[in-house]
């Protein structure tokens, strides 16, 4: 047995570089995944800290721990970091990189070097964002939306923040490009499109949105930079420009970006549900196509962020209608997941708990989204903390819990270690309770008129803010429990060798834990769909007859 034989794990493999370079110059999709994982968790920690401090400031009316300008910078940084550095790369770049090639029976992605390049662009963008905090002038205070005209007038470091978002966009584009070509060209023999695991389908839909929508934000932010730097008349109303046009362009990307964030999480849930209920997924094709439908309809609803800016009434009605339509494919997924659970032999391990948490929280997030999609209601709750609660239910309760579910699901495969299941479940309940305590009061106070992004508030909102802040503490305890649990597992001496702990039928469960460089000793030939569960399904048939 030599050093780099087939059974040597990707963690121990020795390539042409050594030390840290064996990682930061590696083109192995699994090592790049870990690079992304570490970087994005670091930024997650930073984002959580900003969020925690903002909540602490809001625990009582008036100044508590920071001044208003700091608060403005905090919500801007919290948004930029969480969206561009954690949630967007969180599933595609992290878990997609690791598992997409394995799920379709490939040795790597189509363009391994471009994959590495996209990580470097990610780091470059992240560094620019960090630099913008420390340069004289102070961190940007425009909010992550960079709305005109304030983003042209603000004297804070808006430029580096714009450039950071621009570069991070390209990182995201390259990941998407890689995935599309990988899915089209690298599937194992017999792996037809309709035998692909649903996570691969959701990444495919996501990748299209990444490629087609991201350049719009790229050019828009570039135009704002040019306008700031050279005083070219583009959006500035003083030069005849149209700030509403900026908002259109911003949301042409940023609404589909929401689907870049949520689609892969839906894919993860579609993997976990059949495995833990030991049943064939209900309506495979519907789930697969609903991903594409979400990508398509998701590109047609952007202006529902702009119902109060004075758009034409025709546009408002069209966008409101389309917004209701986009709920249909999401609902199809939820119905199918629940139908899969029905009559399953369910094992309530941590990954399933997180998946169920996703379904519950995402449903609340989705329904409150519909409430805001109705024109008349939107006028009332626009720019209140109702919207803040809504998108945290979707982005954190949805994608965040999806990421946690993926971590618990694939942890043994990635690291060859197992975490403590009981602690993992405890962590889940802290997160779940903390999450709802933190964000549910925001629905109520938003409905009562508490504006978003406000540093101070009227005394009647005090009780909601207080409860919300306490919720943030419970949530953080949950995060600490979860990450300590992972950390302990990683440090433990006992390695975990069972290759299929959950009884999954997709390809990653057929290969060794800590997969080798080329994943498969022999590229498998696929003859059946990903979730057959013949044993269980046959029993169910007998019961029925």
């Amino acid at each position: 047995m030599h050093n780099n034989g087939h059974s040597v794990s990707y963690l121990d493999y020795k390539g042409k570089h050594s030390g840290i370079f064996a990682w930061i110059l590696s083109t192995d999709h699994k090592r790049i995944d870990l690079l992304y994982l570490m970087a994005s968790l670091l930024f997650f920690a930073v984002g959580v800290t900003f969020g925690f401090l903002m909540r602490l400031e809001l625990i009582a009316p008036g100044k508590t721990i920071m001044d208003a300008q700091t608060y403005n910078s905090f919500f801007t940084l919290h948004g930029i970091i969480m969206i561009f550095l954690f949630v967007i790369p969180g599933l595609p770049a992290v878990f997609g990189n690791f598992f997409l090639p394995i799920l379709i029976g490939a040795k790597d992605v189509a363009f391994p070097r471009i994959n590495l390049l996209s990580w470097w662009l990610y780091i470059l963008g992240a560094l620019l964002a960090v630099i913008s905090v420390f340069l004289p002038g102070g961190p940007a205070d425009t909010g992550w939306t960079f709305y005109i005209p304030y983003s042209i007038r603000s004297t804070t470091n808006v430029m580096p923040a714009l450039m950071a978002a621009f570069i991070l966009g390209f990182s995201s584009i390259l990941t998407g490009l890689n995935f599309i070509v990988t899915i089209h060209r690298m599937r194992a023999p017999g792996m037809t499109f309709f035998r692909m695991p649903l996570f691969a389908w959701s990444l495919y839909a996501t990748a299209w949105v990444q490629i087609l929508a991201t350049p719009i934000i790229g050019i828009t932010l570039l135009l704002v930079s040019i306008e700031r730097a050279f005083g070219v008349g583009l959006f500035d109303p003083a030069l005849g420009g149209d700030p509403v046009l900026y908002q259109h362009l911003f949301w042409i990307y940023s609404h589909p970006a929401v689907y870049i964030m949520i689609l892969p999480a839906m894919g993860v849930i579609s993997e976990i549900i059949p495995v833990f209920s030991h049943r064939t997924i209900f309506g495979y094709k519907f789930i697969a196509f609903s991903s594409l439908a979400i990508a398509l309809f998701g590109s047609m609803v952007w202006a529902h962020h702009m119902f109060t800016v004075g758009m034409s009434e025709t546009a408002q009605i069209i966008f409101s209608l389309l917004t209701f339509l986009v709920a249909i494919p999401s609902a199809i997924k939820i119905f199918n997941w629940v139908a899969t659970l029905y009559k399953g032999s369910i094992s309530t391990d941590a990954p399933l708990l997180y998946a169920l948490g996703f379904i519950f929280l995402f449903s609340i997030g989705g329904f409150t989204g519909l409430i805001q999609g109705a024109l008349s209601v939107n006028m009332h709750i626009h720019d209140t903390s109702f919207i803040v609660a809504h998108f945290h239910y979707v982005m954190f309760g949805g994608t965040g819990f999806g990421i946690f579910a993926a971590m618990h699901y694939w942890f043994p495969k990635m690291f060859g270690k197992m975490y403590n299941m009981k602690t993992a479940k405890t962590g889940f309940w802290f997160l779940f309770v903390g999450f709802n305590t933190l964000y549910f009061p925001m629905f109520v106070m938003g409905w009562l008129g508490m504006p978003r992004r406000y540093y101070d508030y009227l005394p009647e909102f005090h009780i909601y803010h207080l409860v919300s802040t306490i919720g943030s503490w419970i949530l953080i305890v949950g995060l600490i429990i979860m990450f300590t649990n992972f950390y302990k597992a990683l440090r433990s001496k006992t390695s975990y060798t069972a290759i299929n702990p959950w009884g999954g039928e997709t390809l990653e469960w057929t290969i060794q834990n800590k997969p080798s460089l080329e994943n498969f000793e022999v590229i498998p030939t696929i003859t059946a769909g990903p979730y057959e569960y013949k044993d269980n399904e046959e029993n169910l048939m007998k019961e029925d007859s």
Binding site: H184, R185, M186, P189, W208, L212, A213, I216, V244, H248, I252, S299, M300, W302, A303, M311, S312, E313, T314, A315, I318, F319, I523
Partner: protein
């Protein structure tokens, strides 16, 4: 996988003359669009200019960029990209045309 690699060999035999012909057509269209621009058709001016531009791009895409000899996947991809732009323009103007 290995079967797919053979695709590169099954392309049409290229000839210089054919592409020079396409280039001549493109030149001609450029001449037409400049000439027509001099005449004032009112609102149709921009439509004419854009139509000619679309024909020219079609020629470049189909022949210079070999879309004609690529598989259906490539054609569908181009269609998807154009559809995205089309949707964006149409929905954007649902605001501006009805203000």
């Amino acid at each position: 996988m290995s079967g797919e690699h053979l695709e590169i060999t099954v392309e049409h035999k290229p000839t210089y003359g054919f592409y020079i012909l396409i280039w001549l057509v493109l030149m001609m269209l450029t001449g037409v669009t400049v000439a027509v621009a001099g005449i004032n058709f009112g609102n149709i001016t921009i439509a004419t200019a854009l139509t000619i531009a679309i024909i020219k791009s079609y020629l470049v895409l189909t022949f210079f960029m070999h879309l004609k000899t690529e598989t259906a996947t490539f054609k569908i991809f181009v269609g998807v990209a154009l559809l995205f732009l089309l949707i964006s323009i149409a929905l954007l103007f649902s605001d501006y045309s009805f203000l």
